[in-house]
Subunit: 337 residues, 2 copies
């Protein structure tokens, strides 16, 4: 059975003063003699008094809690985002209430409702992939609860957000491959529904354009094709290829396996770049060059935006497109410069 904690009134009774005096003595609200203040603080400490945030929330109409909704826990990217968020919220004494949508719209809606019901002071969210209707986000805004979106945005709703610059990330990767001398670069695309797939594809094309390499659509493969390995194998056997830029590290690994089976050396004959910089990248052979999206920073920046909005409710929205960072390892050659 939960033990009763000592309250401000317990202290008040013991010292024969009123709760208000105790409250003021403890919170420095002035209007209390130095002597009584000492006395009260001493007793509070002795009794192990800890203020009850529930009661405080009720009167102050804020909870010192922020809500988080992510599509999945089991994903390195979101784990890092979460770590980034926690790193800032814990410093300023905010609690984190967390929900998952499991990439399901219904659960997402429910999670928003849950957080709103819980009266969180603000919400951080990554909405799920398939999201065509945004009434639930609109409701959050109308409730006056600050909202910051991460990673995936929705243009219909005006919120602060932090995203990763996929175009730039892909550009960096392909630009680097080109600089190391590659010219025939395969791109393995991501899921069609995601704007990230499109943006990375555009970054790929832009890099080619910069180096005046003609775009060859035969070099483009669909990542979610179960026959992907076979198709790549077939293409490589028949055509010159010296580089691969994959939408994700996992797709890059698939390519690595194909190359290895064919006895093609990495990076001498074909260089490979993945995306996301998953921790495994350093454990596989060869170690995989990859684009780091700085998910930790995404989380911490988003949390910062949210705290700003909580503290100054009418401040302007904030937006950030995070620059990526190419981490070069042994799956690519050194740049010739």
């Amino acid at each position: 059975m939960k033990k009763k904690r000592v309250s401000i009134t317990d202290i008040a009774k013991a010292l024969n003063v009123t709760p208000s005096t105790v409250s003021r003595a403890l919170n420095g609200g002035g209007k209390v003699s130095e002597k009584k203040k000492q006395q009260i603080q001493a007793l509070a400490k002795e009794l192990g008094y800890r203020p009850n945030p529930i009661a405080r929330s009720l009167v102050e109409n804020k909870t010192q809690t922020i809500g988080l909704i992510i599509p999945e826990f089991t994903h390195h990217f979101y784990s890092r985002v979460l770590a980034g968020i926690e790193s800032v919220t814990s410093k300023v004494g905010y609690q984190l209430l967390i929900c998952t949508s499991n990439e399901k719209k219904r659960q997402e809606i429910k999670s928003f409702q849950t957080l709103l019901d819980a009266r969180v002071d603000g919400i951080l969210a990554t909405i799920c992939k398939k999201n065509d209707e945004f009434g639930h986000l609109q409701e959050v805004l109308e409730s006056g609860t600050p909202l910051v979106l991460m990673d995936r945005i929705c243009e219909e709703i005006e919120t602060s957000y932090v995203i990763s610059d996929d175009f730039e990330g892909a550009f960096q990767a392909v630009d680097f491959l080109l600089q190391t001398g590659c010219t025939q670069i395969i791109h393995i695309k991501g899921p069609k529904v995601l704007s990230t797939s499109f943006n990375r594809f555009m970054g790929y094309k832009e890099a080619l354009r910069k180096h005046q390499i003609p775009y060859n659509k035969e070099l483009i493969f669909e990542g979610n094709d179960p026959e992907l390995p076979d198709k790549i194998r077939a293409y490589i056997k028949a055509n010159p290829v010296d580089g691969i830029f994959a939408y994700s590290d996992y797709l890059a690994f698939e390519a690595v396996n194909v190359l290895r089976n064919e006895g093609i050396s990495i990076p001498d004959q074909v260089a490979i770049v993945g995306y996301a910089d998953e921790p495994i990248s350093t454990y596989v052979t060869p170690q995989l060059t990859s684009v780091n999206q700085r998910p930790f920073d995404m989380g911490s920046i988003a949390a910062g935006f949210l705290l700003n909005q909580i503290q100054a409710p009418n401040s302007p929205l904030e937006f950030k497109s995070l620059k990526t960072e190419l981490v070069t390892r042994s799956s690519t050659k050194k740049t010739t410069s």
Copy 2:
């Protein structure tokens, strides 16, 4: 600015009844005519009334919130544990307040304090590696807040817990290697401070004993040795080895790399088993046989234990040692049976 939400008194005033009547109408506390009940419920719905859990918490002295402390977010194992927990708590309408210790004792203590201050109804925790003193856990118990430990336990304190059967997991792995014909099996050990290292080592020895293979301490390597690859390489060149059981998947990968560089075929010449069944295991070549610790189940079972204790505070403690599951892939041979 946060908009004021409609309260039970708003409804009461609008309908010219008292808040108590509204409360009873909404919560089915009897004592209210069918007609008024309909009326009240209709208006509540129309106004979008949502009960204020803060106020409710204050009077009921419970928060419908459980606290979670884990050493790290960025770890597949804990992500899965978290997912398991969430899967059960979300079903029964409990919120999740989450903290991390970053494997630091100071932060762990602070997190417990935070959760206790927040008046959570119960706490799920994995304590950090270096933990010699448990006053903070004792405090939790004394506060009457139910506590369930996961993955790592502490014998000094009487709590419910869910752990993974490391002995059995290692035994399964090594037993399997032996069944597939291996006899000279290297074991790469984990960090000395962790009981899991010890238990897996004991499981390894037990499996040898079962198959009447003499224990050879030259086959034991320390995982956190920076020269591990070199030492393994040297040993393998000079001695017969046909199997490797590693403390973790990552250590297994290191071994894989050594073998590959030496041109030793996996699994024909040397078979390898890792531990934890990280998702990468299926993406590397060869796909890695590994011991799955069922972290999702660990989370969901622990959450179940905790909910039981919350609902029946004087029920006996519960303990579970989770059976592991060997997932065989191409880094090991087929069993000869």
